[in-house]
Symmetry: C2
Subunit: 151 residues, 2 copies
Amino acid sequence: MPVLDDAIDAAIVREVSKDARATLADLSAAVGLSVSAVQARLRRLESRGVITGYRTLVDAEAVGKPLAAFVEITPLDPAQPDNAPELLEHLTEIEACHSIAGDASYILLVRVASPRHLESLIRDIRAAASVNTRTTVVLQTFYENRPILPA
Amino acid sequence: MPVLDDAIDAAIVREVSKDARATLADLSAAVGLSVSAVQARLRRLESRGVITGYRTLVDAEAVGKPLAAFVEITPLDPAQPDNAPELLEHLTEIEACHSIAGDASYILLVRVASPRHLESLIRDIRAAASVNTRTTVVLQTFYENRPILPA
DNA sequence: AGATTCGGCAGGAAATTTTCCTGTTCGCGC
DNA sequence: GCGCGAACAGGAAAATTTCCTGCCGAATCT
């Protein structure tokens, strides 16, 4: 389960990570296998759960979400059952949710249209999950979503 | 430049964000325009920079990078010119780099194979960018890379 | 008002790509 | 030696993308 790749699979993952639209012929040329062999391996990688999806990267500013922030959250009552990720899942402004080993319980990455919307979102987060929040505004994103290179 | 979309473009972005492999016919059905019209709009979105790329999502554990962490960095000498993002760009374990408005100057998201590799990476980061680091280990990722929905 | 131009869309043919099937080779166990 | 299974190469058919042409409506000019 943890490791599931030979060298060719790793190469395929590397190539298709950089460009999800690469054709089978492209991948075939990159890894030196026939088109059909590459296709079979791709299918296997998908069904094994190594490849979990294909996403289009969009410029957040261009689609009206120029303001990003990290929001750390901490339950108000540590005794309560903690299912904050579920409780927050419906908030589509939240792009990611990780539990972490720091002071807070979770860290969220959020994207909104304006400071006013951020205020509103933080209120929603507090209300939905019964948490305190500590938010850190992103001033500039130099890079993100860089491909994960197989070890 | 900030806003560049009508309702149909927004719908196209929404659909293709969820699945970068959706065919033009799929998108055509979703937005109610002909295939060729959708294709023309997609091209325009790409050339305008609204769509910045297509990525394949891979399971970090499956490709040997089960350990993720946020690394906040602060320059040792605030007087020096600060181009940490450039200085760190070559470290492929870094998936994202944002400048932030908190105590630290930047926050990085990194993925590595093991605690030992994390130690090594942090050393590299400190050496490459002359910074202090404060790292927060990710215990679990509930969701990430959720599509950005056009406002 | 009529004519003209321009942008965006629909439809269709050609080229490319994906899908699926078949045959071959290699490694392994009987 | 022989059969078996997995993985790959090659090719035909289906699906998709690409590109071209014509149409329609809005805006402009005369």
